[in-house]
Amino acid sequence: MLIPVMLGVTFLVFFIISLTPGDAATIILGNGATEESIKELREEMGFNDPLIVQYGNYMKDLLTGNMGTSYSTGKLVSGEIGQRFPNTFKLTFSAIFIAILISIPIGVISATKQYSIFDNTGMIFALVGISMPSFWTGIMLIIAFSLKLGWFPSSGMDGLQSLILPAFTLAIASTASITRTTRSSMLEVVRQDYINTAKAKGVSKKNVIRKHALRNALIPAITVIGLEFGILLGGAVLTETVFSWPGIGRLMVESIQRKDTPMVLGCVIVFAVAFSVVNLIVDILYAYIDPRIKANYN
């Protein structure tokens, strides 16, 4: 399943990027270049070939790990992305980790104490959380924690200290939305008959939640975690820009501004692959938690 989707994704992205107005050869050589040399470069780079041929060539190169060279720096795209990828990985995974760590317990407690003060406050925060744009939250956190209090650096990547603000910024929206899902699926699950069966055989309240309800409630929560990861990757573009974090997101924005097509293409493809891999992991997790799905695989 992964391979046809990836083929589709690369083609789609390749096609969209090819719509970029302006001539690539002119961008590479600059405005001062002669008509002659531009024509020559065009021929050399294959810009005159039909789109599908260009795509074929790109894919052939991609399989060998070659994503082309940057128009603006002349460096290998794969090299640049390889260098930046760990940073984005660090940021997004810290964020999803924070989000899961906070949201699941809050969601569960909220559901078990429905309409309590804890639940009501939690849900208000969650609602506000999904309504705040990450770039604005980031700026606000910078104002509070680095400019006023001076606890964390406002930009750059320099040890754990510098990771905290961007990771939290990125985590807020996901935390909020996973909390909401966990709560509502938990509320759904505790109404099921099998929860009554568990109670009727004397399982303690704590264990009814932990052993019987949670695993079932996690099934929808995991779907949302997978989807949230996609949103996190998108959010990384903004968060990295706000915090000058040297990741792929920022690289992509800079490349767009420089009209560095191969670099933009490379970035989007890497994002899409990362998202697809996460979705694959989610599917495997599903099967692990839900025996009904496992049965379908066998």
């Binding site: 099921q192 008959d193 099998y194 009554n196 069966t197 568990a198 109670k199 009727a200 055989k201 004397g202 399982v203 303690s204 309240k205 052993k211 019987h212 695993r215 079932n216 938690i289 839900d290 025996p291 009904r292 049965a295």
Partner: protein
């Protein structure tokens, strides 16, 4: 009254649900007594309050919206009303356990049936996990499922098998009282016959008492010793099988009998009870059955009927017998 011979004694139980649309008096002064080793059938239609009564014995009424207003429940000499949550956890599964209506949803889909059975054993009996699993295997075999299916998940079992697993869970700690809430309603007839057979067998083997909730008077004949007919939150007639089937007293009970298509007498005409059950948000001042009753009198509209006893075992709540205990219904009993 010999108290120590009864396993369950419910007195004057009142339970209501407080919802946005108003208050529903789900259980309205119910008295139930079950003696050791006996099976009481609690019969009634949807909304009569049967399940609510049963859940209150386990103290599992969802609160909110449910609320036990008053009443006493004594289960095997334990005062349920005074028992705290810890005490209740000890009681559930050990002294009393419950089988729910729909076997499709009564089992946790993500836990193996073995673990679901052994869990109760591990909680209540002083055994190791391994011993509990061993015992679970025995239980599974006892309900007619090969022991090697212990590690399978509920979705791998058919409906009837699932209900067997549910029974195995309920009986795993040999409870003194088993509450079965419509245990065969969701099953096909031939499967129902299998499960009822199994329940009869196990009841004898475990020497336990049972509260059988059902809407089917046919099922009652097969497993029960005594019958309580419930309507709009009250028990309106109670007696032994003989009492209820041979000398039916309450017009509602009579109506129930007349509504059942008989398999042995094709010519018998169905005489349904007319109308619908009263709005539970707004029960009438007098007898709740009054609007649907063919024997309706003036007094029925304004006054709740008192209990009239015919014998130690048989009573009815109906104004028809206030003056004349020998009053005969048109078509009493079968």
């Amino acid at each position: 009254m010999i108290l120590n011979n009864s396993i369950l004694n419910v007195e004057d139980l009142v339970i209501r649900y407080v919802t946005e649309d108003g208050i529903v008096e789900a259980v309205n002064g119910v008295n139930i007594k079950i003696e050791k080793g006996k099976t009481l059938g609690l019969v009634g239609e949807t909304g009569a309050g049967k399940t609510t009564t049963a859940l209150s014995i386990l103290k599992l009424i969802p609160d909110p919206p449910g609320e036990v207003v008053k009443g006493n429940i004594t289960l095997s000499d334990i005062d349920i009303m005074k028992a705290d949550e810890n005490k209740m956890e000890e009681i559930r599964g050990e002294v009393v356990s419950m089988i729910f209506q729909d076997p499709m949803t009564a089992l946790n889909p993500v836990i193996t049936v073995g673990d679901q059975i052994s869990e109760a054993i591990y909680i209540h009996q002083n055994v190791s996990k391994k011993e509990a699993t061993e015992k679970a295997k025995e239980m599974l075999e006892m309900v007619g499922i090969p022991g090697n299916r212990l590690g399978e998940y509920p979705h791998q079992f058919s409906g009837g098998m699932k209900q067997r697993v549910v029974i195995a869970i309920a009986l795993s700690c040999s409870p003194k009282l088993l509450i079965a809430d419509e245990p065969t309603t969701a099953l096909d007839v031939t499967i129902q016959a299998q499960v009822l057979e199994l329940m009869r067998e196990l009841k004898k083997k475990f020497q336990m008492s049972m509260l059988m909730i059902t809407h089917d008077l046919g099922v009652v004949v097969e497993v029960c010793d005594d019958v309580a007919i419930m309507y709009a939150g009250r028990i309106i007639e109670q007696g032994t099988l003989e009492d209820i089937f041979r000398s039916t007293k309450h017009p509602y009970t009579e109506g129930l009998f007349n509504s059942i298509p008989s398999i042995d007498d094709r010519k018998a005409k169905l005489k349904p009870i007319r109308g619908l059950m009263s709005d539970p948000y707004d029960l009438p001042k007098g007898c709740a059955f009054c609007d649907r009753c063919d024997y309706q009198m003036e007094i029925c509209k304004t006054m709740k009927p008192e209990k009239v006893h015919f014998s130690d075992t048989h009573f009815v709540e109906c104004h028809l017998y206030n003056k004349n205990k020998d009053f005969k219904l048109n078509n009493g009993g079968k």
